[in-house]
């Protein structure tokens, strides 16, 4: 792999890892606040799984760049994070959290299905490992969405309101990253358009069957992952606080 390919790959891996990390953190904010004990445990499990996925991706990134995954997470400034605004938004109500998780799970599931055949072996292996877990995540969040969408007038309304906010934000997931064409021509990752089409084929009919209307306006707030929502900085301040309090501590 030459240098430009390597840079393109590390850029892509960091973006994917940051999305997993930030969403895991958002979901972990429900710990102790879930609607029922069992669901509190379930969402904590899922958050921990996504954190594990982030770690796998940071390790692939670190293998290319020599960075330390813990340092990347706890000592990087807001401006150099590459998460989408989709995962940065506050957790909202249960409908918002479940809908975001559903949209993300669907995106991750179809991406991993394609990455299992990646020509970059370490990525193909990581994808195979993550995919089993993701199938369960998808089953969990889609089961919730059905019950929220088809439940009561209030649950449907709350989920629809969440969809109106999240649908445009979700589009940012599929914005191609710089120099990604190096990776797609080599079969390292699928083209973003292929990923997005596969995602829409899953989520559009599903949301329709949940009695939810997909907004027509679907322009993401930004196409640039360097531009963050106002919500990321406070999240990182909280997440990084303990590690930065004593940078030399070992855990």
């Amino acid at each position: 792999m030459n240098e430009s390919h390597q840079t393109a790959l590390s850029t892509w891996l960091l973006a994917m890892a940051d999305d997993q990390l930030i969403l895991a953190h958002r979901n972990s904010e429900w710990i102790g606040h879930g609607p029922i004990l069992e669901e509190d445990i379930a969402l904590a499990n899922i958050a921990q799984d996504e954190l594990g996925h982030a770690r796998l991706l940071y390790e692939l990134y670190a293998a290319l760049t020599g960075d330390d995954p813990d340092k990347l997470v706890f000592f990087r400034e807001t401006a150099v994070y590459r998460s989408t605004q989709f995962v940065e938004y506050p957790k909202g109500d249960w409908a918002f959290t479940m809908l975001r998780q559903y949209l993300f799970d669907a995106a991750e599931m179809v991406l991993l299905t394609q990455l299992v055949d990646s020509t970059y072996q370490p990525l193909a292996q990581a994808a195979a490992k993550m995919r089993n877990e993701e199938l369960y995540h998808y089953r969990h969040s889609s089961a919730w969405l059905k019950r929220l969408g088809l439940g009561t007038a209030e649950s449907n309304q709350r989920t629809q309101t969440a969809l109106d906010t999240l649908w445009p934000l979700a589009q940012q997931l599929f914005v191609p990253l710089p120099a990604a064409e190096f990776l797609t021509t080599d079969g390292v990752i699928p083209p973003a358009t292929v990923w997005q089409e596969a995602w829409e084929q899953v989520v559009r009919p599903f949301l329709h069957n949940c009695d939810l209307a997909i907004p027509t306006a679907a322009a993401p707030p930004t196409a640039d992952r360097a531009i963050h929502s106002p919500y990321l900085a406070p999240l990182l301040a909280e997440m990084q606080e303990v590690a930065r309090f004593d940078p030399e501590a070992t855990w």
């Binding site: 445990i41 379930a42 499990n45 369960y136 019950r147």
Partner: protein
């Protein structure tokens, strides 16, 4: 109005040749969600190959003392609408057998009749049983063999430590 979700009893099978054992219960709006909740509550770490969930209202549970105090009434003359009941028993106070274990099936019209047939069958080590559960097969929701990879396999890659792994501070202080 009762705002609580109904309770489902959860049965877990640790490996293909072991019996399903009751492990506890979850609250869920329906059986499909109960199965997912059971996965997260009971099999995140230890290994498992199968889960069953049953609404607690479908479980007919009775202890040996209750049977002795109030013997099971005689069989009605005609048993109609027979269905299969799964028989679960608890026969030990060992810590490894806190709950009932699946031991077989009985076809009967009611759980009471199923119990009586089970007690007379000679198949279930009846004298040693001190808790019986009878569950209609139709009330059970089971994980599918195809679920193993997504529901149970990921646990193998996760760190699982017994309680004894962690050090503890004794609450008693040495006195001089």
């Amino acid at each position: 109005m009762d705002t609580q979700w109904p309770r489902y009893e959860v049965f877990k099978q640790d490996s293909p040749h072991k019996a399903h054992e009751a492990v506890g219960s979850v609250h869920a709006p329906d059986a499909e969600m109960a199965l997912l909740q059971a996965r997260d509550v009971f099999v995140r770490r230890p290994s498992a190959v199968s889960l069953w969930v049953v609404p607690e209202t479908a479980v007919f549970a009775i202890t040996a003392e209750e049977i002795a105090a109030n013997p099971v009434p005689p069989l009605p003359p005609i048993a109609t609408h027979a269905q299969t009941y799964l028989v679960f028993t608890k026969t030990s106070q060992r810590r490894s057998m806190t709950f009932v274990r699946h031991v077989g099936e009985i076809v009967a019209a009611t759980p009471q009749i199923a119990l009586q047939l089970a007690m007379e069958s000679g198949r279930f080590n009846e004298d040693a049983v001190f808790v019986w559960w009878l569950v209609p097969e139709s009330a059970i929701t089971r994980s599918e063999p195809g679920d193993i990879d997504s529901l149970f396999t990921p646990a193998h890659d996760k760190t699982y430590r017994q309680q004894s792994y962690y050090g503890f501070v004794s609450p008693t202080r040495n006195r001089k």
